[in-house]
């Protein structure tokens, strides 16, 4: 079983949802980012979503935009992102999914990107601005190199698109519970259970829910309906708050992750 499937199976065996943590690779610098990733995994993340920073993150809100900017200013590159994953693999077997924009994947050849991601130790790839209609080349490369794919379902997605999206996904399906960009929201969107059920009618893959979740109570609420719960901006905010004290970041981040991840544990 691949790492992604194994992580969801383990959570299911424990009768709970998986906790998915998002951080931007290289935010705010390589070494701090490596320590931050290790901290969220130590804090109870079942799966790490690693944002590969892009200069023009048009689906991201201010929190993740600033994180990407810090990472790029801190010298993050495609090669360094691979290096970050290799370093994480020295100490962790948790699944790692890249979360990025298509130009970074496409720019030097889709197959090269996929091969390098897999070789570094990544397990999956979510490309925010690549709908399945344009994903033929990427899907072929991912099949060839056994890198799992993740596709997003939005509240605006009609039922008629679900077969296409679910067929393109091989790792899990990601339901974004809000229209809009990434970022913290006060309230959990209504109708998440109905949306998850709608998706499950088209796939056996795990369905995770994210976008805007920031409290243990919100995590608990969503965990009742989904196979996994994603928290991103709330953790990135912890990074942003520790810029002046980078050595203190891992401790704070591990505690924040543990508090949020408690939401998936009964």
């Amino acid at each position: 079983m691949d790492r992604i499937a194994a992580a969801f199976a383990r959570a299911r065996h424990e009768n709970r949802a998986a906790f998915v943590a998002y951080l931007t690779a290289g935010d705010p610098d390589f070494d701090t980012s490596l320590a931050a990733c290790r901290a969220v995994l130590a804090g109870g993340a079942d799966l790490l979503e690693l944002g590969v920073p892009f200069s023009d993150p048009l689906a991201d809100g201010p929190t993740n935009q600033l994180a990407a900017q810090r990472a790029l200013e801190g010298g993050m590159t495609a090669a360094r992102t691979g290096e970050l994953v290799r370093r994480l693999r020295e100490t962790s077997d948790a699944p790692i999914v890249f979360y990025t924009y298509y130009n970074l994947v496409f720019s030097n050849g889709v197959e090269n990107y996929v091969r390098a991601a897999k070789a570094a130790g990544a397990d999956g790839l979510l490309t925010l601005d690549l709908p399945p209609e344009e994903a033929g080349e990427l899907l072929a490369a991912c099949t060839q190199h056994d890198l799992k794919t993740v596709f997003i379902v939005a509240p605006t997605t009609p039922d008629s698109r679900l077969p296409l999206l679910c067929a393109a996904a091989t790792g899990f399906v990601y339901y974004v519970s809000r229209e809009g960009v990434t970022g913290v929201r006060d309230q959990v969107a209504a109708d998440i259970p109905a949306a998850v059920a709608r998706i499950r009618a088209h796939t056996e893959l795990p369905v995770v829910v994210g976008f805007g979740l920031s409290t243990p109570a919100q995590v608990r609420e969503v965990a009742r309906a989904a196979d996994g719960v994603v928290v991103g901006s709330a953790l990135v905010n912890v990074v942003a708050a520790q810029l002046a004290d980078r050595a203190g970041l891992p401790g704070r981040l591990q505690a924040a992750t543990a508090a949020l991840a408690a939401g998936v544990r009964p």
Binding site: F54, S55, D56, P57, L58, A59, D60, G61, Q65, L72, T77, A78, Y101, Y102, N103, L104, V105, F106, S107, N108, L128, D129, L130, P131, E133, E134, F151, I152, V153, A154, P155, T156, T157, P158, R161, L165, V176, E179, G180, V181
Partner: protein, 413 residues
């Protein structure tokens, strides 16, 4: 307009394909949240475009509100100055709000009204598209928000004031390099968030399908008028037509009806900025490579990793890292040629045109004039060169005055 059956069969009418591809370029590269909105927009546009009532309504507003048709004007003294081909100017600068942008803003506003949207958003670089959008929103009663890079707001302060006068909310974009590309990102973020009641009037032949096709179609009126006017005036087609290319909407609108006239050479002029060095220009065909940005696959200025490069041009409207996908396609086909003009050349020709013709051209359009002045000298006096003068330079006079006084370099940042 009735299009003869045989020309409908010409290849240009087959592009883009149903999924928005111009050969290998174009397509739809957006977050899932926008997919349905784009499908709805495509369907609504296809319906409107074949509806004579829509075309009649659009033509009415283009005439009554925007001031079409625009003149084709013989530039006698510029022609004499160059001592070569006859230079004609297609006067899109005479349109209401000062540039060709109003053609597309009117078309999309009428479409948004048909779709039942109540709110309009737009991005703007030089501010011309923002002003056109603000004007049509005032006219038709839409709530209007325009995103504009902070750097552009400073260099185009007059247009910011015009938009606000007409009731638009102008939002300063502080992200990235704070110019057009960043304004597009912010407009797309707004659209992702408010997609159900909002229409995004994208201002160039860029972005995801159906925008490059739709924006082109709304500007085709430029080329159609030009063809009629030059035939009436000279009894023949021009030898060459020149237009500036940022995203490329005025150029493709002007060129489209000449694509299958092989005797007419078509040339787009990009922004050469301070010269073709990384981060110093916005000439995508000089050092750009194939990529995907803001919805479309096309030529993009980017670093070896795929991060989008900084760009520079004295003209905010051309200061953009990607070129419209249809341009990339016709460049591959060898049907449209591309050149570039530098900031210094533009500043010189800006003054030359003002002095010789009594026409102050927009800095964007001046890029086309720079090429035309050089090119006319290579052509014979009986040959005809047409420049699409896409906008007027009133918005640029303060910036140019400051540069000429030496208060700032053409860099402006």
């Amino acid at each position: 307009m009735t299009v003869p059956a045989e020309s409908l069969a010409a290849p240009r009418f087959a592009l883009p394909d149903a999924a928005g591809h111009f050969g290998p370029y174009g397509g739809v590269y957006v977050p899932e949240t926008l997919m349905t909105a784009l499908h709805e927009l495509t369907a609504a546009y296809e319906k409107a475009r074949s509806d004579p009532a829509f075309q009649t309504e659009l033509t009415h507003h283009l005439q009554e509100f925007a001031g079409r048709p625009t003149a084709l004007c013989f530039a006698a003294r510029l022609t004499q100055h160059c001592g070569g081909a006859k230079i004609y100017l297609k006067r899109e600068d005479l349109l209401h709000t000062g540039a060709h942008k109003i053609n597309n803003a009117l078309g999309q506003a009428l479409l948004a009204r048909r779709m039942g949207k109540r709110r309009i958003i737009a991005e703007t670089g030089a501010g011309q598209h923002g002003v056109a959008t603000a004007a049509v929103c005032a006219k038709f009663g839409f709530d209007c928000t325009v995103y504009m890079g902070a750097v552009d707001m400073e260099r185009q302060a007059l247009n910011v004031f015009r938009m606000r006068l007409m009731g638009a909310k102008v939002v300063s974009v502080e992200a990235g390099q704070r110019t057009l590309k960043d304004a597009v990102n912010e407009a797309m973020r707004d659209w992702v968030t408010n997609v159900r009641d909002t229409h995004y009037i994208l201002g160039s032949a860029l972005g995801a399908h159906p925008y490059p096709m739709m924006v082109r179609d709304f500007h085709r009126v430029i080329g159609r008028e030009l063809k009629e006017q030059i035939l009436a005036r000279e009894g023949r087609l021009p030898d060459e037509i020149v237009a500036c290319v940022g995203g490329g909407s005025n150029a493709i609108g002007c060129f489209f009806d000449f694509l299958d006239e092989p005797s007419v050479q078509l040339t787009g002029v990009e922004a050469g900025g301070r010269g073709i060095r990384r981060g110093e220009h916005a000439a995508r065909f000089e050092g750009g490579k194939l990529g995907v940005l803001q919805g479309s696959k096309t030529y993009i200025l980017q670093n070896p990793d795929g991060q989008i490069e900084l760009t520079h041009s004295v003209s905010a409207g051309l200061d953009y890292a990607a070129i419209g996908p249809e341009h990339a396609h016709y460049r591959d086909q060898g049907r449209i040629g591309y050149a570039y003009a530098t900031d210094d050349e533009v500043l010189e020709t800006f003054q030359l045109c003002s002095r010789l013709e009594g026409i102050i051209p927009a800095l964007e359009s001046t890029h086309a004039l720079v090429y035309a002045v050089k090119r006319a000298r290579e052509l014979r006096p009986e040959q005809i060169l047409v420049v699409n003068l896409s906008g007027r330079g009133d918005k640029d006079v303060q910036q140019v005055a400051a540069i000429l006084k030496g208060e700032e370099g053409p860099s402006n940042r």
